[in-house]
Symmetry: C2
């Protein structure tokens, strides 16, 4: 039987215990509404469905998703950190323009990272991993043959993710993904290059050849050559879409 004092005070319990397993880094953590909104906006921004400068009205997006502003705001804040959205306090939220400098930076970072990863892959990949890589290249080819750019992009990502896997540092694919986002956006601003998908398949095959030969240096060189092809005509894109970019460097330095 409690005293009057005990009866009046709600019982206080200890804080919950910390997780001890793999935690949130396990696969299959549940997705929130904010996650779904983020993914949709991320996709639309990256694929130029929402071009730079487009206002993102939180209340409108909320209405579209039958949601409140809170998860929309949470999604938008993530996109801000990824430089995909820019917020002008009290004025509005807009699809971010692409800072010109970010493109060569992304290319330099990718080249440095992926040369290293592919060299490591050439040294340490297992037979099973090599076979898996070849299977992905076949997927590349199928998508190229079918002329499906979107499908092709997915298989292209699978290729580079597999290289990270084979290097022994699979987590670095997440770093590369983040780095390459401006490049993905930019690619939609450039004219499609005839037969480029098939050229990529050829370059992927050359990389796989070098890996299978255990030739780390050649694998690195092939990867570097492959990535250097991505240096699309940014000057042309800037000329055609001047409002899509922030000119934060001398454009003539892009050559």
């Amino acid at each position: 039987m409690m005293s009057e004092q005990e009866k009046q005070a709600p019982r206080r319990r200890a804080a919950n215990t910390a997780p001890s397993g793999q935690g949130q880094f396990e696969s299959g953590t549940r997705q929130t509404l904010a996650d779904r909104i983020y993914e949709q906006l991320h996709h639309d921004i990256t694929n130029l469905i929402l071009p730079p400068g487009t206002p993102i009205l939180e209340r409108e997006v909320a209405s579209d998703f039958d949601a409140s502003r809170t998860p929309v705001r949470e999604a938008v804040l993530r996109l801000v950190k990824e430089m995909l959205v820019e917020v002008v306090p009290k004025s509005g939220t807009f699809v971010a323009r692409i800072p010109l400098s970010i493109l060569p930076e992304a290319l330099v970072a990718r080249r440095a990272l992926e040369r290293d990863l592919v060299a490591r892959a050439a040294t340490s990949a297992t037979a099973a991993q090599k076979l898996h890589l070849r299977a992905i290249i076949e997927d590349n080819r199928d998508a190229a043959d079918a002329g499906k750019q979107s499908e092709f992009d997915k298989t292209d990502s699978a290729f580079h993710a597999q290289i990270a896997e084979m290097s022994g540092f699979p987590g670095l694919w997440r770093v590369i993904q983040q780095i390459k986002t401006p490049m993905d956006r930019h690619r939609h601003l450039t004219l499609p290059v005839a037969n480029r998908m098939h050229q990529v398949v050829t370059e992927h095959s050359q990389i796989a050849d070098a890996i299978e030969a255990g030739d780390a240096e050649r694998a690195a060189e092939c990867m570097d050559h492959h990535l250097s092809q991505l240096k699309s005509d940014t000057l042309d894109a800037l000329e055609r879409y001047p409002n899509y970019f922030i000119v934060d460097m001398d454009p003539s330095d892009l050559k």
Copy 2:
């Protein structure tokens, strides 16, 4: 004079126009309460003031900052994306444990990126930039002489930021900063190595020597050697603080 109908309907205005200047990427954008809370938590987590597993009670943090849950939640969500905090839905939010695999990944990424950046710096740095680098090394030395680890860490970061600046790709310092966060956290778990600060100063000087000599390859090798020293005794840290880590790889692979 409006008709009755016009009078009843509130006037609808156009959406605000998109920004056209440098936008949010200019310096000096104003700081929100969420920003301040994020910075404090980021600092406390990185510096092990809040060790892995510590519960982060949104309502308590809100009370500490005399704020509501909203900006706390926004700050926490940023930390989640940076893998500094893990959320168990409806149960609690905790300072994230360090996935073991992230440490060698961070080292590999830093080595790949900073070898490349320092080689470029050796090739293209201006005289002014080289002098500035020397000045930073003197700051390194002063902090080492004074035995001030925290101050030394700041000057160490300044050194690496300056290398990115000199390479012509200053934005990559942000990428490196993000990559190195797990390393920063981990360093607080390892025993201080006698005279390590002065050793770092020496290694920084060697890097500067190579840059001044215009020797890109030597600069890259010196940087790589320097970064490889950071491979602190993770096995020892794991042994001393097993609850601070998520063991997502074979620890014997850390050698």
